[in-house]
Symmetry: C2
Subunit: 427 residues, 2 copies
């Protein structure tokens, strides 16, 4: 494994200054970005001439349920989120830690092939997903997921959190969120305890909110409040420390408060569109100054984990929802630096800057669909295909090399999941 | 070149009966589908064991402007269609036949890599695009495009049509449409003559209609009628013989008439969303019994020519627009048999049936994103990436083999377009 890599002749998009790109070289040393310049002549263990290909920060998938890859395309074409969840929950009751480990390995492989090296997960058996993250050598923010009441919340924290924190310490690239699932699956006491613990332990709270009209209507019926107002009423909104997945049906007044509280909204356009849930008005949120990041949601409702494709869908969906098109650069921000900010990882991820982790991807500009290039931001968002993501580095190490995983054998990852899935549906 | 190819162990989706798929073998002889069965033991020049990969009819791109690939990502992020066209038209005035030939070659390469072997074009220098179609060995419906008045229309037909018909005759896989551009660029006399000529020559009329709200508003202001009512008032609607690109803003009453006239609507979801034009309510049209096909529009407003990606966007956009999700199989129909019907090519294309042309694609089921497969229709529409389209046959000949074009050198196609484009913007 090289300790230093010199990338030459790249079209570098650093994502640290709006609309900036330039041609130059980039030096990676010991997993970090050591130097960026028009020309670097330093010796390096590996010199990699990319001949005008694009170098971009690796993507950050800010909301997913990784192991739900098992249920990809399963019971598809249901009428809405609730009908579909009714099919999914009984399957989830049967899952074992080993199932989640195998599924996490496949999910991580798919994420990497779509240019992503950091994901924010919300699922069960997080310690199994943690193993898969370490095997691949990437980054994760793993949710300690809560379904149920405050007591269960407390019990899960006491049981699992110390072990998970311990497991993450040496590795250094895993952090945790406390993840009460949603207002329709988790009670108010659980939300309150989640907030308290998050503030005490300096964790981010990760929850679903205002995903569907039905969620809003049901909440209005049972509490007289919308989901956001309900969370506010129970003092569950954690200042600057909470990510709201979906948020499709947040009202303008609620969005003002989202901004005041410094919360991040995670847009999941494919899942929202596919389930007829609606579309987030991304342009409006960005114009208001809200940090909007991007997620694929689970592969069971997407039905893929491809962040490049998610950017494309996000751009189209945002432009449809608004009166005028969104700027492509804004979409790349959502998939990189905005995700890092949402997860409190922007000190080391989300942009190409000296001192940050070398989590970067190389997008070929040599394919039919990338020519003429004309505008590199538009090319990435609208024209590129994951096939163009030739190489992915995480912490300076190539995890994808010419579209092949470097750290594992792809076929066995896939076979293991298929055999687990055959077994699960027979249980 | 093989005269016969036997494809073994395929997951065949014939698209001739709703929701049908089965595992089996497929024999191609002399460019045609000769036999489909659970097991075929006939000798063949080539035997191709696909080990469970999906065999599907090649896609039909029912509305594009192929050579606009030159302007890919050029002047992107304009506020609307009209502003963007104002940037594009001056460039188009400078184009030569050689530019269009080079651009057509690149466009065809990109189409093939997205699994498409038939396209319906509307652009200038159609005889140059015709050359590129013949070089690749695929199918096209080429529009004799009209901007202007009836006299220009007449002149273009007299000048060009005989030559184009002659050029297509021996090849046998090119047909023509008469393509008055739009009501805001072409006059009523031109539309009327187009209809007469189309009926006389048995051609399809191909036009843009009701793409944007502005088009509708402007038409209402100048004629007191919507674009559809205007075309009906001048007797320009050709029974069963006309394809309407976009149609986003057609009213319910107009859609009833679209069905009565037997017209096809070509959905271009990426372009419509990207330019904030709106989204076609595909579920409604299909429920009404209207034939809806799928197109990418030009690569300048999409900004790619990837029909697999267009299916994905079409599905998401249709489910967002409707109250409940669209069925994935309906989307595959739009991209195959419905396109063939719209272009009057369903006697030989659009489905896998004995006697039809062997225009088929092989989609790998071996990638991370295609596992678990669970539902092959959903997997194609939501999970697949063009990288999974390993092999493409047109008329029984492999035009794409393991992601490489067989008939041309990709780099020179790309280089030729880039040098043309550098020259064009300096003219």
């Amino acid at each position: 494994m090289s300790m230093s890599t010199l990338i030459k002749n790249a079209l570098i998009i650093p994502m640290s200054r709006d609309g900036e790109y330039f041609y130059g070289d980039l030096l990676i040393e010991n997993g970090k970005i050591a130097k960026i310049a028009e020309r670097i002549e330093t010796a390096a263990d590996e010199i990699f001439d990319v001949d005008g290909d694009i170098v971009l920060p690796a993507f950050i998938n800010a909301h997913t349920h990784l192991a739900m890859i098992l249920m990809r395309n399963y019971k598809d074409d249901k009428e809405n989120l609730q009908q579909w969840l009714a099919e999914i929950f009984p399957i989830e009751d049967k899952l074992t830690g080993e199932d989640v480990l195998r599924a996490s390995r496949l999910g991580i492989a798919e994420l990497i092939k779509g240019g992503c090296t950091t994901f924010s997960d919300m699922y069960f058996f997080a310690e199994e997903t943690e193993k898969a993250v370490k095997e691949a050598g990437i980054n994760a923010s793993l949710g300690l997921t809560i379904f149920g009441d405050g007591e269960e919340t407390e019990r899960r924290y006491v049981e699992r959190l110390p072990r998970m924190k311990e497991g993450a310490k040496d590795y250094g690239r895993i952090c945790f969120t406390i993840a009460p699932h949603a207002i329709y699956t988790t009670d108010s006491d659980s939300y309150k305890r989640s907030k308290e613990l998050a503030e005490k332990e300096n964790f981010v709270v990760h929850t679903h909110l205002s995903e569907t009209k039905k969620e809003v209507d049901d909440c209005l019926e049972s509490t007289g409040m919308t989901p956001f107002v309900y969370l506010e009423s129970i003092d569950a909104l954690s200042n600057g420390n909470m990510i709201l997945a979906h948020g499709v049906h947040l009202t303008d007044k609620e969005l003002e408060k989202v901004r005041e509280y410094g919360l991040s909204v995670i847009n999941n356009p494919s899942s929202n569109m596919k389930l007829s849930s609606g579309a987030l008005d991304v342009k409006k949120l960005l114009d208001m100054g809200i940090n909007v990041a991007l997620g694929t949601d689970g592969a069971s409702s997407n039905n893929n984990l491809n962040m490049l494709e998610e950017m494309h869908v996000a751009a189209l969906s945002a432009s449809l929802k608004a009166e005028t098109p969104i700027n492509a650069y804004q979409i790349i921000k959502m998939a990189t630096i905005n995700g890092a900010k949402a997860l409190h990882l922007d000190d080391r991820l989300g942009s190409i800057e000296v001192g940050k982790d070398a989590d970067i991807i190389i997008i070929s500009t040599k394919s039919e669909n990338m020519n003429p290039l004309n505008n590199p931001f538009s090319a990435i968002v609208y024209s590129a295909s994951s096939e163009d993501i030739r190489t992915v580095f995480s912490h300076g190490v190539k995890v994808l090399d010419e579209r092949r995983l470097t750290y594992a054998e792809e076929k066995s990852i896939i076979d293991d999941v298929n055999s687990a899935w055959s077994d699960i549906i027979r249980r």
